[in-house]
Structures are given as structure tokens and as C-alpha cells.
Symmetry: C2
Subunit: 225 residues, 2 copies
DNA sequence: TAGATTGTTAATCGATTAACAATC
DNA sequence: TAGATTGTTAATCGATTAACAATC
């Protein structure tokens, strides 16, 4: 009995977890197209990765493929969904309903992929009480109550950088254990809290880096190396 | 002469490039606070990384620190800025001015960190001609003209997933060489084009994965291992 | 000179990938 | 059985980090 390990015991590499989300998205399109079976080669191609990597990624979840045949689209979809914890419900709060926050509040891609924004919060008294996308905006002062009432575990942070750490602290105090940070600020959280960040300007700066490399390469070519 | 290598010749690891953007952001706050000198230990702490990693990252750009003293904030700022190609101007087009696109068009974080959205494009005839944030919305049919006129090299893609590849192809044909994709779709581009993606729902799914791990761990603890 | 801190080395760690035995 | 494709091994590659010689 003790060597029949629960897949949850196995450590799944971070890089793999990130790709599982992509595989799941691709599998959803296959389900929609009523595709029954898919090979690692096909799925990998559709996900933009190497097939060995895909098989290795899937092997962390267990053996759900059939040699000589491939993977059952629906089964694999369910397994990945389960591995990502999407079979249990996670309540999400969105903090900061400014420019970016409002767009995130209305973003259809969250709902279609398993997330519902249960609550909106903001510090601006002019926004508190307003209704956005059918949900009322609560005051950040009530964060403890709101988090408890909606059993919120995940928060999306879209507040100005200079208040991000303070708001983050309040969320953690209220019991939030995962934070997705859009504020361009480095946040520190206790060990039991997971933190991810999306830095929009940094993404453009990374592209800018490669742009100038390409420009330099083009220069060198013209100059005749 | 030939062994005085241009820093551009040295390959900078991808992971380093991504962090350079963070260092630059932290350095900007130090400039604002009139801090003159910073040690790798201090800067690393502020950026949320290990100091050895920071020094190794900076070493790819050259030697701009002074042993026993640290780094001159302004000089280092300029060097990183230069390395990221921010001293040359990159024109950005935003394609898809729906929910998310409008938020990105109005996002202050781009301008403050060196990027100007030079043009907006959309396929919806009801939006074409509209003025958003002082910029007129062009038709995607005019992408070739718009890209040429504004010398655009970078495009931000915020269109629905099912048209993302098509729009991407048109951008590439028009001469765009870097694309930041917000559409939940796997895109393929020619080798000379750089592609980065931001998958908002995937970010939540990754957090969900860790949430369910934490829940399972808490369960195991209660059950008494 | 003594103290501090960089830049670099080398060891370690984690992720990728080709190759192929297992097996449907 | 023959053909196809998985799951896994082992080699390789790239990134991280501790440690310290170089040097301000």
C-alpha cells in the first residue's frame, strides 16, 4: 500500500506546472472539435513544445496514455484539470479597480478557464459602492470581512506600486494565501503565501532588448563583418 | 583591439534579461530618492533576489561596480537601460482595443518605463475611427500602412484567441519583429520575430495548483501522518 | 593598512531533450 | 505479428549560488 504513491506526493517542477495550463487550453479546443485521441507529437506541436518535454511533463501526473495509441483527450483534460486543483473551487478577489483592474474584472478568459472573481475591492471612496460587472466594489478597509465571507484564497493585485506592499500585507493578514501581482513593485510575503507577478512594462523591455540585438546584427551585416 | 569585446557580443541569458528590467525599476526608485551608491547586497534585497545572482547578472553587461564601494546608482541605471535597448526608440502598436486592450492603451506603466503606444488597431468597424486616449483607432486592414508610417517594430496583441494567429501573421507581414501576445492562443512566428506571451488565466491556474497542494498538506496534517 | 564589496570560479541544482525499451 | 507511441533513462544544457581572490 505504501508504495502506491498519491500523485500529489510527487514534486511537479515549476516549469511543468506552467505548461500544464497551456496543455489544458489546447485540450479544451480538441474537446470542442470532438477529437477523441491525441498523440504526444500532435499535442506538443499544438502547444508549441517538444514532444519529449510534453511526455515528461505528463509523466509527473501519472500514466494516462496508451502506448501505440496516444492520450484520450477527455481523460487527459480531466487529469490535468485535477492536478491544477481546478476541481476544487478557488474564490478570487480583485483588489484595485482602476484602469487595469476594471479590465481584469471584465476579462472573459478567467471565467471560461475556471475562475470567478467573487469580490472587488478598492481604496478610492469614489469607487467604493459602485457596481462593476454586476459586483459591488468594497472598501479595502473591509478586506478581512470580505475575504472571510467569500472564503477567498487568491487575490489579484492591481493597485498603484506605492501602496502594493501595504495592501498585500492586509490581504495576507486577512487569510489570502496566493497573490497575483500586477503592480510594478517587489513584494515580500510570508513563506506560506504564493506570489506570482505580471510585469507588463518588463515584457516590453525584454522585447526591446531583443530588438536592439537584431538592430545591432543588421548593422554589423551592413558594415560587412 | 579585437579582444576589447563589445558587450553586445556577449550572450546574456534569458533569465538575466528578465531580471534586468526589475533591477532598472528598483534603481529608478533609488534615483528618485537621491541615493548615490548601492551595494549588490542592498540592490539584490530590494529586487528580491540573491546578491550573487545580481552580481552575475550585472557582470554580463561589464564591470560597472567599484570593489569595496558598490555601484553608482545613476551609472548602473544608464548601463542597464542601454543594455535593454531603451536608449533607442521602439514604436509600439496595440492591436485589439476591446476590454483588455483599452486598459493596456491607458496603462501609465508603459509610458513611465520608456514605451509609447504609437498606434491603435482593431477589426471592429464600430471601433475604427474612435479616439481612445487621444489616439485614433485604425482598421487592422490598414496594418501595413500604419506599421510603416509609425516605424513600428513591437506589437501588443489583445485580440480574441480565434483570430490571434491571423492577426499575428498580418503584423509579421507588415514588418513587426516583436510581439507581446495576450490572447490565450499558441502562436507561431518566423525565426526573426520574437514572441512573448502573457496568459492571465494560466497565472491563476498556477496559483490554483499551489493552493490545492497547500490544502492537501493541511488535510494530511489534520489526518495525522 | 584594514575593511568592504565586487567579479569570477566552480560546484550544484533543475530543466531539456534524444534515444529507446516497454507495450498497446 | 508489425507498427506506433508511450514512459523513462541518461546525457546535456542552462541557471543558481556559495565561496573567495582581486581590489577599491
Amino acid at each position: 500500500m505504501s508504495d502506491l504513491r498519491d500523485p500529489r506526493d510527487l514534486r511537479v517542477p515549476d516549469a511543468t506546472v506552467a505548461r500544464l495550463a497551456t496543455y489544458l487550453r489546447v485540450l479544451s479546443t480538441l474537446v470542442d472539435r470532438s477529437v477523441v485521441t491525441v498523440s504526444s507529437e500532435e499535442l506538443a506541436h499544438a502547444a508549441g513544445v517538444n514532444s519529449a518535454k510534453l511526455r515528461k511533463d505528463l509523466s509527473y501526473l501519472g500514466s494516462y496514455g496508451v502506448r501505440g495509441v496516444g492520450y484520450d483527450v477527455r481523460t487527459l483534460s480531466e487529469q490535468i484539470s485535477h492536478a491544477l486543483g481546478l476541481s476544487t473551487h478557488h474564490e478570487v478577489a480583485l483588489v484595485g479597480v482602476g484602469n487595469l483592474g476594471q479590465a481584469l474584472a471584465g476579462y472573459g478568459g478567467f471565467a471560461s478557464r475556471g475562475f470567478r472573481i467573487a469580490a472587488l475591492l478598492d481604496a478610492d471612496p469614489r469607487l467604493v459602492g459602485a457596481v462593476i460587472g454586476g459586483r459591488i466594489v468594497h472598501s479595502v478597509d473591509d478586506v478581512a470581512t470580505v475575504v472571510k465571507e467569500h472564503s477567498i484564497t487568491i487575490a489579484v493585485l492591481a493597485v498603484p506600486a506605492h501602496v502594493a506592499q501595504e495592501v498585500c500585507d492586509r490581504l495576507v493578514d486577512a487569510g489570502v494565501t496566493s497573490i497575483l501581482n500586477f503592480a510594478p513593485a517587489v513584494l515580500s510575503v510570508p513563506e506560506h503565501v504564493d506570489l506570482r507577478k505580471v510585469d507588463l512594462a518588463a515584457e516590453l523591455q525584454i522585447l526591446s532588448f531583443h530588438e536592439s540585438r537584431k538592430a545591432a546584427a543588421a548593422m554589423a551585416k551592413v558594415a560587412g563583418s
